[in-house]
Amino acid sequence: MKLYHLAIALLATATLAIAAPEVGKPAPAFTLTDSNGKSHSLSDFEGKFVVLEWVNFGCPFVKKFYDSGEMQKLQEKHTGSDVVWLSICSSAEGKQGFHTPEELQAKLERVGYNGSGYLLDSDGAVGKAYEARTTPEMFVIDPKGVLVYKGAIDDKPTPNAEDIADAKNYVDAAITEAKAGSPVTKAETKSYGCSVKY
């Protein structure tokens, strides 16, 4: 029995490793627990658009969007029957951005979090599978599980909230274009932000 479990585990990790995040290809599968202790897998959301937002509340570039309320607005806009917004924190224990589920419940309430779920990835496995390097870093996955966007949240790589208004939001554009059935024009951009604290 143990050998069987080991084999499955190895196979699972292997699939995780093989599926590198390439636009146009299926996005890497994952299973993570959220701040309420509930487990979610990517496959749970088949048939819906999935937005992945790499987050670290201490990073000035993440604060740019949360302190100004802009991230919460985006989350509200893009959650519903057909879109799911998941925030993933890959900060290792003891590093900036890491919070326990108890801390998170209070924090998410305080910032007015509007996403579908805040997932904890403290061993960094999912972050590394997606090659997430900065916070924020955004991924958009279509209802068939194919990655259609990866990269920056917008085109103004600064920590200043004043720059959000004039910036072109790549996530907005990707979801709008993908929903309309047209190819995403800016499908891959260089993300900006603090490094993920693995």
Binding site: C59, S90, R133, P159, N160, C194, Y198
Partner: protein
């Protein structure tokens, strides 16, 4: 005393946002970054470019970012507020260090301290004695385990003076040396593109230690983490990216950290710095052959059989002893040549290796070698003779009069010395080229020449019956000597062609005019300064020869040659882009007619501008597209302040160069602008949109 005004004043100063030269970024009572604006001059000379630097002093463990920050972080920016008529160039970034963070994250930046340099161009109409304040708003991101954005409103005030003091600013010199140079580097890289990315073999004559590559991708160009490995004595740079990729190669050369801008393009290898020198084995072969041919010179050939007979006489009939005499004689020849090689190596050691390897980029060096080659060729033609000083001949004669092997040894040295009038020209030329080669190659070359020269003695002393195969001396030797002048003239032609690439047709003409004077003065020396002419004749001849040579040099070289522009700078080369000078009137006229226009805002003191022009604009594909589409190329040269250009830049919200604007045909109100870092494909794509 009533001090009620003091507190409000102090508070006002604290909050008034008065720009200061120095500002500190503090977190929880600890200073993370101290930012200061400094200048490399005590005063501003109207119209003369100077440098301002943003000095960032970071707390230990904290770092700020480079021009390309890497996987995370953002580069430092400076927004300038310049007085009327002033312009600023882009930040000149010293070479960074790479930092690897957990999760395979690599960033490029600075720790400790860094000075970010910016060229400032003042207008020519400043009033001497007035003061000028330059303001800059610097923004950066400083990180340790966490990141904190910082910014500072800085200013620097300088007086306007009439002439700049010639003092060196050590701090600016240090950091300027660490800014990547846009000059051709002392290496070439052969790039290859594969599915795994780019790989480049670094080929160099100089010794490069600790080679590093820092990428400079254009917006959204994906690039992996570069790695450099040593394979078979060569450095191989690997980076997961698609050509073309700009970047910086840093290395320790000649004991100094230097860096160069490069473009990784798999299509064409970068121009080699060694101007096509033959590989080592070829050089050695030529040296050996050259040494053999030297034996045919009038001063050498008659001596060979005499010397060998001398060995036979001394050694009696014992073949072994005959050969040993021959070997000793050859030893003397080797001493002479290897000694010459050692002198060159010692001279080279006095300058850094990089300097010597660079010499073939330097027109003055090429000119000097060409002059020497020309004079030597004239010597072979018989225009003048070279004579040896009497004292040297006397000493050598005594030494070689000794019997035994040591006598033969010194005879070898003496014979080679005596052969100098004939062999001098070739040795002189070889000496000149030797300067640009590494020390090991120099010694090897001279060794092979020595071997070539010594080979008849070795062969004939081993088998004295072969002497019957020796050519008989005769008048033909003088003709051979004259004939040998022609390979030297061919070398001169080759050197002139290199000079032409550097200084254009004008450069070749001025240099040739100088050579004409040199030839005349050398003829005067040769014709009138002979051992049989009177002292008075000799004195007049020498004075006249010197006058003509120096006069020709001063007039043709100092005047004409020095001012000859390099071909790429001239606006009228047939194969180059036919740039028009910028003028607002002309631009308006073209736009009104609906013509597509490409404006290149550049300046001589802007390294990035020059690099962009060389690698992304003055390239065949762009030239062809410009011609085909009928785009009018305009160069807005801002080297000397130009109010029209300044006004145009301002309209686009810019204070400096580089800057590129493309006005599409018939859509002048919708111009396309290009960013600071250009690649050929970016320019091509943008130009295509101008239809």
């Amino acid at each position: 005393m009533n001090k009620s005004w003091l507190a409000p004043l102090l508070i006002a100063c604290f909050f008034g946002g008065v720009a200061r030269p120095l500002a500190a970024q503090v977190l929880d009572g600890k200073t993370l970054v101290e930012a200061e604006l400094v200048a490399n001059t005590e005063g501003i000379v109207p119209g003369q470019t100077f440098y301002v630097g943003l000095r960032l002093r970071m707390a230990p463990g904290w770092h700020t970012y480079w021009q390309y920050s890497g996987d995370a972080g953002i580069p430092t920016t400076i927004a300038w507020e310049l007085p009327e008529g002033f312009g600023a160039g882009p930040i000149e970034w010293p070479m960074p260090t790479a930092k690897l963070e957990p999760g395979d994250i690599e960033v490029y930046g600075y720790s400790g301290e860094v000075l970010l340099l910016v060229a400032i161009q003042p207008p020519p109409d400043l009033v001497v004695g007035s003061e000028v304040t330059i303001r800059g708003n610097a923004s950066w991101l400083v990180c340790e385990a966490i990141c904190i954005p910082g910014n500072a409103e800085l200013s620097i005030t300088l007086p306007v003076i009439s002439t700049a003091p010639k003092s060196q600013n050590a701090e600016f010199d240090f950091w300027q040396r660490r800014v990547p140079s846009a000059d051709p580097p002392p290496f070439s890289i052969q790039w290859e593109q594969s599915a795994k990315g780019l790989s480049g073999r670094v080929l160099s004559d100089a010794t490069l230690n600790s080679v590093r590559f820092f990428p400079l991708p254009v917006e959204n160009q994906p690039v992996g983490h570069p790695s450099v490995t040593e394979e078979g004595g060569e450095s191989i740079i690997r980076v997961d990216a698609v050509a073309p990729l700009r970047g910086v190669v840093a290395a320790e050369v000649g004991g100094e950290e230097r860096a160069w801008l490069v473009v990784a393009d798999a299509d064409d290898a970068m121009a080699a710095s060694s101007q096509g020198f033959p590989p080592l084995w070829q050089a050695l072969l030529y040296g050996f052959l050259g040494g053999i041919i030297l034996n045919l010179m009038p001063c050498v050939l008659p001596v060979i059989s005499l010397k060998v007979f001398g060995f036979i006489r001394q050694a009696g009939a014992d073949p072994r002893r005959i050969f040993l005499h021959g070997a000793a004689f050859s030893g003397g020849i080797f001493l002479w040549f290897l000694g010459l090689g050692a002198v060159i190596v010692a001279l080279k050691a006095s300058g850094s290796e990089v300097t010597w390897a660079f010499q073939f980029q330097n027109p003055a060096f090429i000119l000097t070698i060409a002059a020497i080659v020309f004079v030597f060729a004239l010597n072979l033609c018989g225009v003048f003779e070279m004579t040896l000083p009497g004292k040297a001949v006397g000493t050598m004669s005594d030494l070689s009069g000794q019997e035994g092997y040591s006598g033969s040894f010194f005879q070898g040295v003496f014979a080679t010395l005596l052969a100098t009038p004939c062999t001098g020209p070739f040795l002189g030329t070889a000496l000149g080229f030797a300067f640009s080669q590494p020390s090991a190659v120099v010694m090897a070359m001279f060794g092979s020449i020595a071997l070539g020269m010594a080979s008849p003695y070795l062969l004939l002393s081993a088998r004295s019956e072969w002497m019957k195969f020796l050519p008989k001396p005769g008048a033909w030797m003088e003709k051979l000597k004259q004939f040998m002048a022609f390979p030297l003239f061919a070398t001169l032609l080759w050197l002139l062609s290199i000079l032409g690439g550097q200084k254009g047709i004008d450069g070749i003409l001025w240099a040739s005019a100088f050579f004409l004077c040199l030839g005349l003065s050398v003829w005067i020396y040769g014709a009138f300064c002979t051992p049989v002419s009177s002292v008075r004749t000799r004195a007049i001849a020498i004075v006249l020869a010197l006058l003509i040579a120096v006069g020709g040099g001063w007039f043709f070289i100092g005047g004409g040659f020095a001012n000859a522009a390099s071909p790429s700078a001239s606006t009228n080369t047939k194969s180059g882009i036919q740039w028009e000078s910028f003028s607002q009137a002309r631009l308006d006229e073209l736009l009104a007619a609906g013509t597509p226009v490409f404006v290149d805002f550049t300046a001589d003191w802007c390294i990035t501008c020059k690099f962009n022009e060389r690698t992304a604009i003055n390239v065949p594909a762009v030239r062809a597209l410009i011609n085909e589409m009928g785009i009018v190329p305009i160069k807005a040269d801002w080297t000397n302040s130009n109010p029209e250009i300044t006004a145009t830049l301002k309209r686009f919200g810019r204070v400096g160069v580089p800057f590129y604007v493309i006005y599409p045909a018939g859509r002048a109100d919708d111009p396309i602008t290009l960013p600071e870092i250009l690649t050929e494909s970016m320019v091509l794509d943008a130009l295509k949109k101008a239809r």
